[in-house]
Symmetry: C3
Amino acid sequence: MKDKFFFEKKILTVDKLFPEKSFKAKKKIVSVKTLKNADKDDLTFYDSKTYINHASSTKASYCITTSNLSKDLPSNIEKIIVKNVLYELAKTLKKIYPSADIDYPDLSLKKANKKLYKTVKFGNNVLIGKNVKLGIGTIIGSNTIIEHDVVIGKNCVIGSNTILKNSIIGDRVMIQDDCKIGQKGFGFIPNQNRNIKFPHIGRVYIHDDVEIASACTIDRGSIDDTVIGKNSYLDNQVHIAHNVKIGSNCMIAGQVGFAGSSSIGNNVSIGGQAGVSGHLKIGNNVKIAGGSGVVKDIDDNQTVMGYPAIPLKEFIKKRKK
Amino acid sequence: MKDKFFFEKKILTVDKLFPEKSFKAKKKIVSVKTLKNADKDDLTFYDSKTYINHASSTKASYCITTSNLSKDLPSNIEKIIVKNVLYELAKTLKKIYPSADIDYPDLSLKKANKKLYKTVKFGNNVLIGKNVKLGIGTIIGSNTIIEHDVVIGKNCVIGSNTILKNSIIGDRVMIQDDCKIGQKGFGFIPNQNRNIKFPHIGRVYIHDDVEIASACTIDRGSIDDTVIGKNSYLDNQVHIAHNVKIGSNCMIAGQVGFAGSSSIGNNVSIGGQAGVSGHLKIGNNVKIAGGSGVVKDIDDNQTVMGYPAIPLKEFIKKRKK
Amino acid sequence: MKDKFFFEKKILTVDKLFPEKSFKAKKKIVSVKTLKNADKDDLTFYDSKTYINHASSTKASYCITTSNLSKDLPSNIEKIIVKNVLYELAKTLKKIYPSADIDYPDLSLKKANKKLYKTVKFGNNVLIGKNVKLGIGTIIGSNTIIEHDVVIGKNCVIGSNTILKNSIIGDRVMIQDDCKIGQKGFGFIPNQNRNIKFPHIGRVYIHDDVEIASACTIDRGSIDDTVIGKNSYLDNQVHIAHNVKIGSNCMIAGQVGFAGSSSIGNNVSIGGQAGVSGHLKIGNNVKIAGGSGVVKDIDDNQTVMGYPAIPLKEFIKKRKK
């Protein structure tokens, strides 16, 4: 399951991808991964000091980076020095994964074949793509679309009018009506008159016993995955951007939004309409009051409120002034 | 209509439900209702001093409560003393209503039978469950799903891609595209690794002349109903949680959210993206500015703004400091 | 394309519309338009000093206005003096455009006829209305509904479960899953027990290279159009109310909401969950921080934050107190 991959991929050697650069070893690129997840023969990228620890220990063979940041990388990695890392990364991803930058609807969808999925119950007009795996006892509501290669575990209940793509879903997961899970995130390189769309080759990984209420949107990861941990519950109209990691046993109330790449600990509870900015680290057992706007990291066991969110005690003191 | 009920129900005597307790009268439980709505032979629950007035006058025969709160109840009611009222209530509901804790999609849906509903107009692929009642002159858009036992009045217009379940809808109600109405609310007993899902046996009750714009979510009540009063209008992407009561002639702008069990008076207007916390009482003729976060009760005729929302005059004074 | 019109229209002379008024010339009304867009033989309306510049130069033949405001209009225009301009306008629109006040679902929809659209690719159960125009190379996902007379340009990708009506869409536009575009906006004349629904005869105009993520709602204009400028990108769950104009090259993050009739410049970026009130003018190159609530006009090149939003420097200074 860990290696399940959803996108068309071209096998290219590194010198074909970067013809203007020179390399010691002109290997085929196996995949493009984050500093942390990359392995031998993978291409990675390093664009921010935030990830310096992962940079120094990455196992990738090739890394797109800037001249300045390149010093943090292992000596044996081949560095591809550029001015704008994300721009070069987007262009490179497009060459390797030519159809991951636009969400082309799956045209392989067919009405659910009950002979193929004998232990699954379907509503009307359920549309299933190629190679979809559905666990025993799972029920899928009417008009729901499950695109190619999606994996759903045992005893799940998927509501009606829901769309799942590029996703791996555990056991006993409940997804209510009209959720959109696995679509491309909001990532692009701004460019006057024609932005450059950032290919999204990640997935959505939903662990066992998760419950997702109606009308939520969960974008797939760009390079990494978007993850919802075991037994976490989401209320209606929650929006989860690309690469967000949510721990286990979290409670996320209605209309909460997460910007990209933030990671949320375990046992976190978030009140309605709160927002969490991008690239933050929220600890375990954190409580975020409804309507708060979180713009910086939060340590374990904190309760915060306000816009920008501050510890609850400070918030109350400030208001008394 | 008042007694329309949507869930499978088992007839059980109180001693079967609570074998470790002793009772004077071992009656069959007719229903589980709130303190206020319960009648003879009903089971109710009392878990918060907020409802002390209803507790002292309830007509229920049995009540789940704590040792401490039990003193507020009438002397003739049989008290079921527990430590965690909602936990015991959830377990009991699950025994009586075994399928109300998960939104199993209605597998009885069939394409709309025009012979059965001669005075109704349907788009393509409209799916209708068993025992659905549709009033004269009503129009229903394509791909819309109306699950079993739903009642819709006369001259309504229901848009496309909308899902209605566990709901009773008046006359001349307009519901635009892609609304989700009647699904389970966000209620569960937190429990490491496997939360306990709270059965939702309530309904959504929408009165005459209501208009609901696109992509709204309105959860059904848990024990009580969720209610939208006559001639109230909701804009796009509004979220209404379980048990919320909205009065008549209200105007609720886009992306407003209500947490559970709050009650809103008549002639209330709420600006875009405002949020109302749970278990609050908002009076008549109240105005809530866009973006506000309401965290306490509001008296009649008040105008409030801010996060937390305060009277408009105070808000302006504070900002001038 | 500029004259593409989506609603049934009755040809009526001005004296039939306002029998209690007297007119010099009893002409047929060609259309109802804004002060700025109206031409000879059109009816317009003037209800707020905000539009005084457009009032003095309008080319309309007839104008509904108040006694007080009527002085700002050209001397040769025939003035229809009333107490409540919007109320009279709503009643008049209803006479000329009898079906624009309710979103009746399009009952002319049929499964996409591949012979009619040979250069277009369709998923399953795509429903297309009469006179729909689809450009070469466009792809449309499953269960998507495109109502009568909609125009979509070349090489567009429209996701699944999306609904388009009353809209004109350029080339290379990407609209992801479950968007609702072109429905009626949130406009009505409040009236105890039975509000008066305001007919919406405008359209949604989406320019080339726009990208709209999942679950967005974009209401059509009331008298004017709603417009999204070239190469602007919207994230998930964005709500755009009637008559809003968004410039080109804008970036609008998840769950942002716009109230009606605001105009946004070019190169504007807006963070997640921000809200923009109605009838505002936001300049070019403006940056609005996530979670902000914008309640007044913003000049070009400003960065604002907070609720209500103020220039970033002021926001930081205030917080340090």
